[in-house]
């Protein structure tokens, strides 16, 4: 089996079935045993015009990130695809409609735009589809057929995927689509017989264990269901809306409820209310909505009420770039509240962590009695990865509630300043444990009190508790052989994949480089981070934000200034850029 790493792009107009084709391609390749990472980009405007692109990377090794170049372009609309040719590798393959329904001036055609060396696979997609199924609808599948034949993906893989997808629409639809696919497959086998590379065939291993394609948002939705979420309160906002829509479908049949609120303030308010009464609840939002939650989050901190808040980051500030990815809400998540209002902030870095961190966040919120903020981003929310269906074990799903024991009945102190800072929490309905929660400073009983000692002690208690959470929160993970390193690269969130891939490449080149993934942004494992930094000559922190927000947070742990690689392009940082930066640092060192 040889190593495969191929990036395929499907590009067309909205309406061409671009996104659907990309989805089926991903499914088929997953079933073929490859690691898959895919990401769609939709047009920014609502109205049905504009370019749709799906990019997928398939590999025999674990795929960690998307790269900026494309090996195979499947064009469903040449006008839309022309601007994509600059991203093609020198010997890229391009599939396109050689007889498009609308005549394209030769000079403006895709064929004219590509560089010499590009392999062109022109196919009369529309004609083939119409001939096979009586309608041009399936021409996206015809194109996939051509791709499959040339690259050696067995047609059965696609048949299976097509069946599964169109089954609900009836046998006829399935049949038409299979035929459209086969028309392309057969055409390519025949016409391109001398150019069949069959590159995938050799590495193909029909996976035993069925992997599923899941996006970050789907993983979060499923995690919430598995964690036995009862109530979801939210307000639509890109890119968090799909979580609400997923739960709106799946939660009610399980006896839970999804309530679309009037805004984000009421959403977090209702989450706090439910959790005060002991019931798992969550909300998901993005920057502008997260900003509106600021005040009530600090209330959760002060009154020690759990809450799970997902902030799906997008380009900012303000309304910003609603359909672009960015990691610029870290400052706000960690430092955003007036008053000393530390809360727990974690950031998953891949789809599996989206699932696992979400499941656990309920427990953390309950145990540490504080809002937990889960930071994802547009890229992580929408990219798909293939994994065995994630499952949480009993322990991860169990609740983290700590209740007072009956001996405390009548003399109960809701906010007892224990050593850990965690105080057993009573719930309305429990007899003998009545208290009032408040955002005012208060005595251990909950009674408002503004004396200096009370505020000192209770502030200390609340912060002690947050620091105590470090034992449960995901520790930084190092990828290196240990020991002294010339460059240590620290990543968080969706950028971690690119960091790990860049470091893998650097190490393969024999460079002394290691990576550290930070998942818990607050509190953070300063000792682990400091130890790692202490072994590194240089620290590089690549982030999808302008201000270097993680660098601002942990930079003080390093004895020199950390190096920053800040991008606000709205797109993921490709591993190559991080690698280039690593090399530049090492280069400068040798001068």
């Amino acid at each position: 089996m040889h190593t495969i790493d191929i990036t395929v792009e499907v590009c067309g107009m909205a309406g061409d079935g671009t996104i659907a084709a990309g989805g089926m391609l991903n499914e088929a390749m997953s079933r073929g045993g490859f690691s898959v990472l895919g990401f769609d980009s939709y047009p920014a405007e609502i109205r049905g015009f504009g370019r749709c692109v799906t990019r997928s990377r398939f590999g025999t090794e674990e795929i960690l990130a998307l790269i900026e170049v494309t090996d195979v372009l499947i064009s469903l609309d040449d006008e839309q695809s022309r601007s994509r040719v600059s991203f093609l590798t020198p010997e890229a393959a391009v599939f396109f409609d050689s007889k498009p329904a609308v005549y394209i001036d030769e000079a403006k055609s895709l064929a004219a735009a590509v560089k010499p060396g590009t392999m062109l696979f022109g196919m009369p997609l529309t004609d083939l589809a119409v001939a096979a199924a009586g309608t041009p609808r399936g021409r996206n599948l015809t194109a996939l057929g051509g791709f499959a034949a040339v690259f050696g993906v067995p047609r059965e893989l696609f048949h299976r995927v097509i069946k599964r997808k169109f089954q609900p629409k009836g046998e006829k639809v399935v049949d038409a689509n299979v035929k459209s696919f086969d028309a392309g497959f057969d055409y390519a086998l025949k016409v391109f017989s001398d150019r069949i590379t069959a590159v995938f065939a050799a590495s193909l291993e029909i996976a035993d264990e069925e992997k599923v394609m899941l996006s970050g948002n789907q993983a979060i939705g499923k995690a919430a269901l598995d964690a036995d979420l009862r109530l979801y309160f939210g307000y639509p906002i890109t890119p968090a809306t799909p979580i609400m829509e997923y739960l709106a479908k799946h939660l009610p049949p399980k006896g839970g409820r999804v309530m679309q609120m009037e805004d984000e303030i009421s959403s977090i308010g209702a989450v706090l209310g439910s959790y005060y009464a002991g019931t798992r609840a969550m909300t998901a939002t993005s920057g502008p909505g997260f900003a509106l939650m600021t005040e009530l989050i600090t209330h959760g901190v002060m009154a020690e009420i759990p809450a799970v808040i997902l902030d799906a980051q997008r380009g900012g500030p303000s309304t910003g770039l609603p359909t672009k990815t960015e990691q610029s809400d870290l400052h706000a998540a960690v430092f955003g509240g007036p008053g000393d209002s530390s809360r727990i902030v974690v950031a998953p870095s891949d789809v599996a962590e989206c699932y696992h961190f979400t499941v656990k966040s309920f427990q953390w919120a309950e145990k540490y009695q504080t809002p937990v903020i889960v930071l994802t981003d547009f890229f992580l929310d929408n990219r798909v990865e293939n994994h065995p269906m994630p499952e949480a074990d009993e322990e991860d799903r169990s609740n983290g509630n700590i209740f007072p024991d009956s001996s405390q009945k009548g003399a109960y102190k809701r906010y007892e300043a224990t050593e850990s800072g965690i105080s057993p929490r009573s719930l309305p309905g429990m007899e003998g444990f009545i208290f009032s929660a408040t955002g005012l400073e208060h005595l251990e009983t909950g009674t408002p009190d503004y004396s200096p000692t009370t505020h000192m002690n209770m502030s200390a208690k609340r912060h002690r508790k947050i620091q105590a959470a470090l034992v449960d929160l995901p520790r930084p993970v190092e990828s290196s052989d240990g020991g002294e390193l010339n460059v240590g690269v620290i990543g968080w969130g969706s950028t971690v994949g690119s960091v790990r891939e860049a470091v893998r490449s650097a190490r393969r080149k024999g460079l002394s480089v290691g990576a550290l993934k930070i998942s818990s942004l607050f509190p953070y494992h300063s000792e682990v981070i400091r130890e790692f930094m202490g072994r590194c000559k240089h620290i590089l922190i690549p982030e999808l934000n302008y201000e270097g927000q993680l660098a601002n947070l942990i930079g003080h742990l390093f004895s020199h200034e950390v190096k920053r690689l800040n991008k606000v392009t709205g797109t993921p940082i490709p591993p190559s850029e991080i690698l280039a930066e690593i090399e530049a640092i090492l280069e400068a060192d040798t001068k």
């Binding site: 009862r230 109530l231 309160f233 409820r257 309530m259 609120m261 009037e262 805004d263 303030i265 009421s266 959403s267 308010g269 209702a270 989450v271 706090l272 209310g273 439910s274 959790y275 005060y276 009464a277 002991g278 019931t279 609840a281 005040e295 009530l296 209330h299 009154a303 719930l427 309305p428 309905g429 429990m430 007899e431 003998g432 444990f433 009545i434 208290f435 009032s436 929660a437 408040t438 955002g439 005012l440 009674t447 408002p448």
Partner: protein, 265 residues
């Protein structure tokens, strides 16, 4: 002459000492002596006794303000949230545990200014909670600024040349918002409050109690005990609270009739 507030405050003290009003907490409210809120306190107490709800099944959710302090004065579960957010938080409490009897309370600033955007939605969702709006037409806790129900022309430190905004009518708002139970009440009539509360709390769905009260400390001219006592009067003979159109007519023509204004059949 004793104001109704002062007599109430004294009465409350007496009853407190007798131990009869169970949900009263050990500590007497920190409200000013004579504040109208004592009457509301008495009404809610009577209601809870009549309903015979165990205290640990009661949650009082409040915003910020003198009214917002209310949970601290009750021997029930309490949740003193932030300014204006009692209703969404109470929504969460009730949905989380429908067994609980949930009261939301707050002032006119809390409920009609900063929190005014939530009332329409909790009403149209018909969340099964009871909302007591303590309407003294003033910001009590912050020492006397005008509120959304302050009449035009009112002078205060914050409006030395007189206010110029038209006041909102919370009862009319509630009707417009499709609230399914609407009562208009008077802090000087705790019995009336108690009986409306009993009815509204048993009603399945959202119930709002718009309670005229007085701020004896900062309002010397408008909603004084004397004025309120002269102004309020019962709903007309034969009034049918199940008729929404009639309810609108009543509220548009009379600001001071008190009782159950509307109840969705």
């Amino acid at each position: 002459m004793k104001t109704p507030g002062r007599s109430l405050a004294e009465k409350v003290k007496g009853i407190k000492e007798s131990g009869a009003f169970n949900i009263r907490s050990e500590h007497l409210p920190t409200w000013c002596p004579g504040c109208g809120y004592f009457g509301i306190h008495q009404g809610l107490n009577e209601c809870i006794q009549e309903l015979a709800v165990p205290h640990h099944q009661v949650v009082i959710v409040s915003g910020i303000g003198c009214a917002g302090r209310y949970p601290f004065f009750c021997d029930t579960y309490g949740l003193h949230t932030v300014h204006g957010r009692a209703l969404p938080v109470a929504t969460g409490v009730k949905l989380a545990n429908p067994e609980l009897t949930v009261f939301a309370v707050g002032g006119d600033g809390d409920g009609l200014a900063i929190g005014g955007g939530h009332l329409p939605h909790v009403a149209r969702r018909d969340i099964n909670i009871s909302y007591l709006l303590f309407d003294n037409s003033i910001y009590g806790l912050t020492k006397g600024q005008p509120s959304p129900s302050t009449p035009m022309g009112t002078r205060s430190k914050a409006s030395p040349f007189g206010t110029t905004d038209r006041p909102l009518n919370a009862t009319l708002l509630a009707l417009t918002y499709e609230a399914s139970f609407v009562a208009r009440l008077f802090a000087g009539d705790p019995r009336g409050i108690a009986s409306a509360l009993v009815e509204g709390t048993m009603h399945e769905g959202f119930s709002i109690f718009h309670i005229y009260s007085t701020c004896v400390t900062f309002d010397k001219t408008f909603k004084t005990w004397n004025n309120l006592k002269n102004w309020v009067h019962p709903l007309p003979e034969g009034y049918d609270p199940t008729d929404r159109r009639q309810a609108f007519d009543e509220v548009l023509s009379d600001d001071y009739s008190i009782g159950v204004i509307y109840k969705r059949p």
